[in-house]
Symmetry: C2
Subunit: 414 residues, 2 copies
Amino acid sequence: MQKNILVAQSGGPSAAINATLAGVVLEGMRHEEIGNIYGALNGIQGVIERRLIDLKSQIKTDRQFKMLECTPSMALGSCRHKLPDYEKSPAVYEEIRKIFHEYGIGCFFYVGGNDSMDTALKLSEYFLAVNEDIRVIGLPKTIDNDLFGTDHTPGYGSAAKFIATAVAEIARDCDAYNLNSVTIVEIMGRNAGWLTAASVLPRAAGTEVPQLVYMPEVEFSLEGFLEDVRRLHAVRHTVVIAVSEGIRFADGRYVSQSEQSDHVDAFGHRYLSGAGKLLERQVANKIGCKVRSVELNILQRCSSHILSATDINEARRIGQFAVRFALQGQTGVMAGLKRISDAPYICDVVTVPIREVAGLERGFPKEWIAPSGNNLTDDVFCYLLPLIVGDVQPPTRNGIPEFFSFNKSVLSHT
Amino acid sequence: MQKNILVAQSGGPSAAINATLAGVVLEGMRHEEIGNIYGALNGIQGVIERRLIDLKSQIKTDRQFKMLECTPSMALGSCRHKLPDYEKSPAVYEEIRKIFHEYGIGCFFYVGGNDSMDTALKLSEYFLAVNEDIRVIGLPKTIDNDLFGTDHTPGYGSAAKFIATAVAEIARDCDAYNLNSVTIVEIMGRNAGWLTAASVLPRAAGTEVPQLVYMPEVEFSLEGFLEDVRRLHAVRHTVVIAVSEGIRFADGRYVSQSEQSDHVDAFGHRYLSGAGKLLERQVANKIGCKVRSVELNILQRCSSHILSATDINEARRIGQFAVRFALQGQTGVMAGLKRISDAPYICDVVTVPIREVAGLERGFPKEWIAPSGNNLTDDVFCYLLPLIVGDVQPPTRNGIPEFFSFNKSVLSHT
């Protein structure tokens, strides 16, 4: 008997998350066992609110698939809705079960980061507990690259490519004048320095930038920072610095704390911004040279015009494999990436029990940080370089990227 | 008798300025009348300091030319040096004349914005006054697009393409959640809204963003701005706003004034930043929805990974034509672009007496601003769309842009 499948997206945007969605739809269309392919709008919240749309009728042509793959941010919409524990709110789970029955859902695919894996885990355990054959697969997505159980996360490679390119370009911009200057590039990544680490990739294209890298894994010292800059100015005009938004002082306070906004999301995460601005003012006051800080900001997660082909291909493959895993009867697993070798770069899609990975943050390897604490070792290149390989030409109209938009008219169902 | 030529770059960086340099070198190599091709490091300052390098020996292969063309910011370095009036400092002019004699310079090409044209004008008039056959040609360059005597300036098209693409991407990023939000994109352009105008180009690819556009040409009202946002929130969740860094209140104060840094350059220009941040705080306090401001910052002028082929080709052609104009005996002219038609897009390179254009700012046409003052009319598309046509694939190494760097060992000469 045919089963329908349901896919939804959650968490923060990335440039590759729709390639995973495209992979689910593409693979779903290939199997006779699968009937309808539904998408829920705004993640698990849209499931609960019965805001489901039909996907097969909307993505048909190669160009539509390509457009969807190259469209940044969740085409189905996202949510930050945290599924409560079953013990506290059994009614929510029963409602979801009822909705899945109504729509004949046999497999649910949830694309997202750590918080979304938490939801996928809870749902899969609930269905097992009530002896319901509804399979739940988690599909990783986060530019932060901090998920456990996968070599890296889809979205990270494209973000890394944008960051590396932007740092290379900004470094050239800063080099135009014949005077001492400091340029501070502030990079996303609350707790792990994965994104900040990508800033060193320009060195693989013949540059020396950035000269200094401050990771959130290392206690930040303002005095040490100013000393680093002074030392470099003795031998060169231009100093380019990559700094994580999440750097903290020895006492645990974020450097950006004085610049912090009050916005706290549903998972208690605080929106950080301003480490670069604070360091900019420090350089201006204590060193007095030309100084500028640049926040790469949300382009890090949505710059679809500079995608990594490796990233997009892997994101799509994860979507495709997730469908196969579900059809094999697996549930409560995440489709993760397992690196077989660096050169040639080979990466397999494997399953990982979500229970083993949910809630854990995969930190940046301490041994890749130079003993000085203000730079990285060359080990990072073996890991990072394969992830940014290959260009993607996104569909454009009039020279502007043309994005895929779903008709979001919700299905009426009884 | 063979003459040597000298080229230098000045003013603020752009992504196309080295294509103009490449054009000068390319064309210079084709004429028997031209001997050596020198580049001065850091503009007119490098001329005065005799910091000249040989260019022909450094740019030989097609790949080198391509790399140079796709390298952002001045490959020869820039300066903000303002040439004093002859009456005040005749010695500087006599020194430059002496240096030009030493190096056998018959033509000087100065690539830059308004301030650089001022220098080119002064030098050309000095050489004419002292009956010296040294020709001086100005080559336009500025992302600001505010030079007189040219339909547009090289560098503007690529900046416009980056801005349009970034706004399209950011708009998708902001659309992921099912809640009211405001996203403010702050765009460069001190006095003229040319760059901010490029933000509407995503509408030519099937989107409606940005919903509001605040140009520096229109008096800014905080109350009007908040009212605009409230009105839009009545009919849609997500409001994307493009705002020029240079918007001012009715009394002439910059909106960013409270955020202004004290840095003033040699031409008395003040570095602006912060209009977006101020509006962000206003929305947070007065409307209370999710709000974020994004400063596109210096990537607007150095994002070589998303060049306009039209822009790069025109920048190169301007360099080539400048050499031909000089060989024809012209001096004191700028090589400008004259648009013949929009569709098909045809643009000629012509000469314009610098005297007629130096010191003037070409404002954004008032009639392209909607009567409401918070949007643009469709007229802007005819003008803008041809300028962003065509993609350029910059040379890369390991997936990272590979930039051209000159060996800056200065020539020793007697």
